[in-house]
Every structure is written in C-alpha cells, then in structure tokens.
C-alpha cells in the first residue's frame, strides 16, 4: 500500500452501485480509503466502465449510494443526485478525450477556468502540472501532435489539476503500445501514490491492476466475485476467470487430509492437510508432459488429450483435457522432442509440493 504523503482530508469513497440494463444488472459495493487505489478487474462487458460512469454521475443508478468523504453524491433513499459537474472528480478516459481545439496547457487549465478561476492562476497551475508530468516543452501542442504516452500524461494532469476528491481511470493504458505502456505505467504509479484522494481504476489487464492498485475487485457479469490485495488475488484465485487472468490452473474439490477429490473428476495428492472444500492451484510450468507412463517421484499422474496448442511468450501452452483439465507450459524444445500435436494422448504429472491448496470458503481464512 502506497501511503499518501499527507492525508489531511477525508475523501474515502463508499459506494453501492446498482445499474439496471435491459437484460443485465450491475450491483457492486466498493470502499476505497483516502489515498487508496482500487482496481476493478474483469472481462469486457463485465460492467467495469458502467461502474465508473455511475460514480461520475454520467449513468443514472437504479439504487444504491455514492459517498465521498462527508459528502453524499448519490443516494437513492433520499433522492440526492449531484450533477456530474458538481462532483469533485477527475476522470481519465480510455481514449483520453482531450479537447482537440485546445493546447495541452489549455486542456489542463480547462477545469479550473470552468470553476471560475482567474486565467493567470489557472495557467500557473497548468504549467506546474506540465512540469510534473514532464511535458513543459509540449505546452502549446494540440492533442493531435502529442504521442500516445504524452496524451495520456496530459489527460492525467487535466484530471488531477482541480485537486479532486475522487480519481477515476478507465483503462488508462489500453490505448498505448506495449513499449510505451511499461514506462507510462510506472509514471502513473508514482502519480497515484502522491494523490491523496481515492482512486478507482478499471482495467482488463491483470498486470495494470497488480502494479497500480493496492486493492483489486474482480467483476464478472456485474457482480464482485473476489476482492483482495494483489498478492491474495494472484496466489489464491477463487474463480476460473481470475485464475486464467493470472495464468493459473484452478481446481475445486474436497480435501480429506492430503487427498483431494476434484469436482470435475479425478483426484490429487497435496502437501498440506485439510478436511473441507478446497481450491487447488497448479502453475502451468510445474506440470510435466510425458508420452508414456512416467516413473518419477510425482505422486500425481494422469492421462489426457491435447486439444489446443498455442504460443505463450517464449513457451508453448498446451490445453489438455483430463480430468482434471490442465493448462501446461512447456519449452519449444520439449515440444519438438516429444513430437506433440493437438489430438494426441499424453501423460501429465505434478508434484504434490508444487500444488497450492486453500479453503474454498473465504470467511474461514485467516
């Protein structure tokens, strides 16, 4: 958790957002302390951007409330609904939406002028923000003449120039190419750590969530399916989607000592003893593939059929149908040695000590 430098104001976000669509409903609760960064992580169409729109007052909420610090922005019970322009907000849009007719400096000063600031004062604040994001020499450029990374920094400066209580970031890195994304991500991280208000970040990229946020909330189909620190999310995913996001095999089952009977069929030996419903996690790299029945030290051996082969970074990723089903990463060398292809039968093995096991019910955890 990146502690804010000065936490002199109370701008924690406390919200329950219910948005009703024709065949779909968003219903989530979020809490972000002042200085905290919450990432809403989820697949496209999960409702992440709708949640941001509801926080900003751009999307009418069916029920629920939004409270920032002591101020109620939205409350279905009492009918409070603050107009967007009266909320102390900063928003970085996915495609930035920098005003094309204004220079970078004018874009940053816009919010202050809109709030009735004196022109010189607003210009002075804009200049200091240009310096903070390292774009003093681009002050007079129009957005069309800024690179993607520069436009992103101007958008961030524009959102923060008004010292808002709540900062909303909608896929702030999605529009950038891979090379720029790395450096912009670390810049963004340092700006967020200096920001004393609450931040809500929406992303479908787990890396963004893990690096930028100190709390991650995973949304699927308009509901929260898991919340926790980045560490918890990556070590102990609770749904298949989260496991896939962080690149792990997730299996649900019932533990009887170190023996786990899996829901989808099959069984596994694990190192840690439980007597309860559990999740078992296997890294794709710790599973070994064989052409014939292996005679190694692994306690867990089973056969399956390869149903998909694709490149995954420097490795080759095999999707093997079990039970249990398993995603396995092997080197291209091993792939060639074993002469593997989709449709072939293989043997899989994994050591008990390479499996992580934890209780399925969240509340019984320490």
């Amino acid at each position: 958790m990146s502690a804010p430098a000065t936490d002199t104001r109370d701008s924690a976000l406390d919200a329950r957002l219910v948005v009703q669509r024709e065949r779909w409903q968003l219903d989530i609760e979020v809490f972000v302390p002042a200085g905290g960064v919450l990432a809403l992580l989820g697949p496209n169409g999960a409702g992440k951007t709708t949640a941001l729109a509801a926080l900003a007052g751009l999307e009418p909420a069916a029920r629920g409330h939004v409270r920032v610090g002591p101020t109620l922005w939205d409350d279905h019970a009492t009918g409070v609904r603050l107009a967007t322009e009266r909320r102390s907000l900063g928003v970085v849009f996915q495609d930035y939406l920098l005003f094309p007719t204004m220079t970078a400096r004018e874009n940053i000063a816009f919010g202050l002028l809109a709030k009735g600031w004196d022109k010189h004062e607003a210009g002075r604040v804009a200049d200091s923000w240009l310096a903070r994001v390292g774009l003093s020499d681009r002050a007079q450029r129009r957005p069309a003449h800024l690179s993607g990374g520069q436009a992103q920094r101007v958008a961030l400066a524009r959102a923060l120039a008004g010292a808002p209580d709540l900062l909303l970031l909608d896929e702030p890195l999605a529009a950038l190419d891979a090379g720029t994304r790395m450096s912009v991500r670390s810049d963004l991280r340092s700006h967020l750590s200096e920001f004393t208000g609450a931040t809500v970040l929406v992303t479908h990229d787990p890396l963004d969530a893990l690096i930028l946020a100190d709390q991650v909330a995973v949304i699927e189909d308009g509901r929260l399916v898991q919340t926790g620190t980045p560490h918890e999310i990556t070590r102990k995913p609770r749904t298949r989607y989260v496991a896939q996001l962080v690149g792990l095999n997730l299996l649900a089952g019932h533990a009887d000592g170190t023996h786990v009977s899996l829901q989808e069929g099959g069984e596994l030996q694990v190192a840690e003893s439980h007597h309860s419903d559990v999740f078992v996690v296997a890294r794709p790299t710790s599973v070994t593939v064989h052409r014939a029945t292996p005679h190694g030290s692994s306690r867990n051996v089973w056969s399956g059929v390869i149903n998909n082969v694709e490149r995954h970074g420097d490795l080759v990723r095999l999707a093997v149908t079990g039970p249990p089903d398993m995603v396995v990463d092997i080197t291209p060398d091993a792939m060639a040695d074993l002469q593997l292809a989709a449709g072939e039968s293989v043997w899989l093995s994994v050591k008990a000590t390479d499996l992580t096991v934890y209780l399925a019910s969240a509340d019984s955890e320490a």
């Binding site: 322009e85 939406l97 005003f99 094309p100 007719t101 204004m102 919010g111 002028l113 959102a159």
Partner: protein, 275 residues
C-alpha cells in the same frame, strides 16, 4: 509482431489501381461536361470587356452590388444566430416529431423561391398573419423594404447553414461534453468553450454556402421585397431587369456574380472538392 514490412501498403490480388474502362461512358460524360461549361464560356466570350468599366462603374450598379453584399451578410448572421441552435437541437436531442421538424425546416431548400416569396407575403405582409399584427401594434410594414430582402434571403438560405452545421455536430463526439462535465464545466460553458470551437469549421462552411445562396436569391426577394433601386434591387434582380433594356449590362453583372461564385468555390475547395 516482428513483421518488418507491416507499415508498407498492403497489396492483394484485385487491388490494382487501374480501372477497367467501359468506353461508352465517355460520350455522355463529354456531352454533359460541355453542357455545363459552354454557358459559362459563352458568358465570357460575349462579355463586352471594353465597356466593362462603364457598365459596372455606374452608381446604380455599385448601389445594387453593395445592397446585395450587405443583405446577404445580414441574412448569414441571422442564419448563424438562429440556425446553429436549431442544428444543435436536431443533432443532439431525440424527441417525437424530430423528423417532421427537420423536414419543415429544410423545406425552403426544395421549395420554389417564388412560392416562398408568396408565403412570406401571406405571413409578414400588411395583411399577413404576423404582418397585420406588426402593422397594427408597432406600425411596422415589412414588405418592399431592405429588411424584407434580408428576410427573404434568410428564409431561403438558412436551411443550407442548418444542414451543414447539423452534419458537423454529428461528427463531434458527445463524450467531449461528458469529459467537460467531469471537469466541472456547466452546460453553457461546455457549449461555449468545447462544442463551438470544434464546430467552427462546420459553421464557416455552412455560412459560406448560406451567404452564396443569399447573394443569388431572386424569386423570393422580387416577390416579397420588389425591385426598388437603392432599397430592394439586389444584383440578381438588376440582372433580370436590365436584360430588357441593356443586355450588355446584364452580361457584365452576371460576370461579376460568376466571379464571386468562383471565389466561393475556391474558398471551399479544401472542404468540399477534396474527394
């Protein structure tokens, strides 16, 4: 990802540039081009160049020209002030009867101007629906005054501006309004400082079209405003009238209007002719 040639233009079989020409199209295309261009050539050939200074130098010609420029400009200003808000309503709001409203507003585009002039008389004439009231309450009589010229020109030309600005507004992403709202901007501040600047090129193009149409206005003007030299006799009206007694003057005046049109086309080249 590692494709070095990725930014070279892609070529596929079938994407070759040269078209397969059906030569039979050339004949009607040539006839059509001649049909459009020959009258202009004829105008240039028959222009009495030697007498041009005398024909155009007369005080009555200069009066007509000045009246045309002034009324067309006034009509354009009114069209901007009234037309931009109409365009905004048509482009940004969804309501019952929007299609009907658009049809009514753009009707003068296709209405024969003479009929427009009659309609103006019936509305704003001395015995008109509004005109009678104006006369009774304020003692104002609109027809056959310079103001009537401006009214007639605005009636005919404003739809050009509305259509142009509405199209431009549809190209301005409404999410800029949302971005402005998140920065604390009121609706009016947003319209004034975000929407209008983004709309400026569309308004400029619409204003030029509107001005050109107003400058050439004849039918509605002569019906509603008449042809009084100095007050309602604009260039097109004078061209028509001088055709009776001084054809050379009519040719010379037409040449002036042609030059103005060419200048307008050159000014719009960037926006309209860059197909």
């Amino acid at each position: 990802m590692t494709d070095v040639a990725a930014d070279r233009p892609r070529r596929h079989l079938g994407s070759e540039r040269s078209p397969r020409v059906p030569y039979g199209l050339f004949v009607p295309a040539a006839i059509g081009t001649a049909f459009l261009v020959l009258p202009l050539v004829g105008l240039l050939i028959r222009t009495p160049w030697r007498q041009l200074p005398r024909l155009l130098g007369g005080p009555d010609v200069r009066t007509a020209l000045r009246l045309s420029l002034e009324t067309a400009t006034a009509a354009t200003v009114i069209a901007i002030v009234l037309g931009v808000p109409i365009a905004w309503v048509l482009a940004r709001l969804t309501f019952r009867g929007r299609a009907m409203l658009r049809a009514l507003i753009t009707l003068p585009l296709v209405l024969p101007p003479v009929a427009g002039g009659i309609a103006l008389l019936l509305a704003y004439g001395r015995r008109g629906v509004v005109g009678g009231w104006l006369l009774k309450v304020f003692g104002i009589s609109l027809p056959f005054t310079t103001a009537a010229v401006v009214v007639a020109e605005t009636f005919v030309a404003m739809p050009f501006l509305i259509v142009s600005v509405e199209g431009a507004l549809r190209g301005v992403d409404i999410r800029y309004d949302h971005a402005a709202a998140t920065l604390g901007a009121s609706r009016w501040f947003t319209f004034r400082h975000v929407t209008l600047p983004m709309l400026a090129p569309g308004i400029a193009a619409g204003a030029v079209l509107c001005w050109a149409r107003a400058l050439g206005e004849f039918g509605a003007t002569i019906t509603f405003a008449g042809s009084y030299p100095g007050t309602t006799e604009t260039m097109p009206v004078r061209v028509y009238l001088s055709l009776q007694d001084d054809p050379d003057a009519a040719i010379a005046l037409s040449l002036v209007l042609l030059l103005v049109s060419v200048a307008i086309l050159a000014g719009l080249r960037e926006r309209w002719l860059r197909a």
